[in-house]
Symmetry: C2
Amino acid sequence: MNVLVIGANGQVGRNVVKELAASNHEATAMVRKQEQVDKMKELGASKVVLADLEKDFSDAFEGVDAVIFAAGSGPSTGADKTLTIDLWGSVKAAQYAQEKGVKRFVQLGSVGSNDPDAGGEAMKPYLVAKRTADELLQATNLDYTIVRPGALSDEDKSEKIEVSLKGFSSLEGRSIPRADVAHVLVDVLDRNNTYNKVFEVLQGDQPASEQLNSL
Amino acid sequence: MNVLVIGANGQVGRNVVKELAASNHEATAMVRKQEQVDKMKELGASKVVLADLEKDFSDAFEGVDAVIFAAGSGPSTGADKTLTIDLWGSVKAAQYAQEKGVKRFVQLGSVGSNDPDAGGEAMKPYLVAKRTADELLQATNLDYTIVRPGALSDEDKSEKIEVSLKGFSSLEGRSIPRADVAHVLVDVLDRNNTYNKVFEVLQGDQPASEQLNSL
């Protein structure tokens, strides 16, 4: 499949492009700036499209078979960008996907968004944005999968994970390498058993393929 | 009907309580602070419940037949509160309504939320929050009506309005008194023709009842 990676220049997004390049799929990397193009090619993107998530980015969906939405405004900007990028960017992406007949949509979510009220004052606005983006994707007729990783680390890919459909009861002291999150986002693409599912994922001691099979 | 007014101490909310008191309905005013209780009684609320929109406010739904959601964080707080109050408060209210079997849900929206991208940098985050709150309400099985007024004024109630299902092509120089918005929010409660509809409203030259009948 030709997979549009939205947020390709993000920390998870770069890993997704790399993972796609090593898979039987192809990556179309969507980035905002010309100077990011070379980096994307280096990571193995077959195609790079320049587009701004805060404007009309429907052109990026031409010839695309699936979408991985991995964009986020990050912690250095305010809640206004959380609204316009994390939430509205996802809503617009799902809308374009429907308009262009792209059925498969994999979204990078976040643990904690099953209950934003429990997230504490600082995290709650972000978790509300992620949760509502997920709910609006679930209300579409797209074949979605929503992947909610725990705390992200920069460790090497382990391909050992633990998944939970109902959500982990404790996240304490646990995390997951960004490279493993990227692996999961790509690996679910053609796993029908993950269609229309939302799950949490952490580093674990089981092979990723086995854990994803269990969903 | 016993109507729960969420955001009763807001500028539109106070008018809603007054309007309900003058109607064949009863107002249960939801406010956050003890010192707001007397004002609500003065305005004609049959009952006042103390609850915080940012916490669990499910108790406020006991014995309620309908909800008017008129809460907003206002312009003096940031986009974090837009997420936790305007958006998440509405999502939670709709969730509680469903859990408690309250079918009728009237939501105060905003013009411009049909196209947040056209709203300009400053308004876009707010319009995204209002739009997504509306979409999530529309995805429930509640009997909703979403009322999107234009610029609000403090003029006296005129009961002369203009409504538009497809949205006004120009809002320039136009507004609507808060008292008229409150009148519309209350008047649609038992108008079946407004169920599951979203419309914009401005001050106009037609009687409100006639315009609401036309929806």
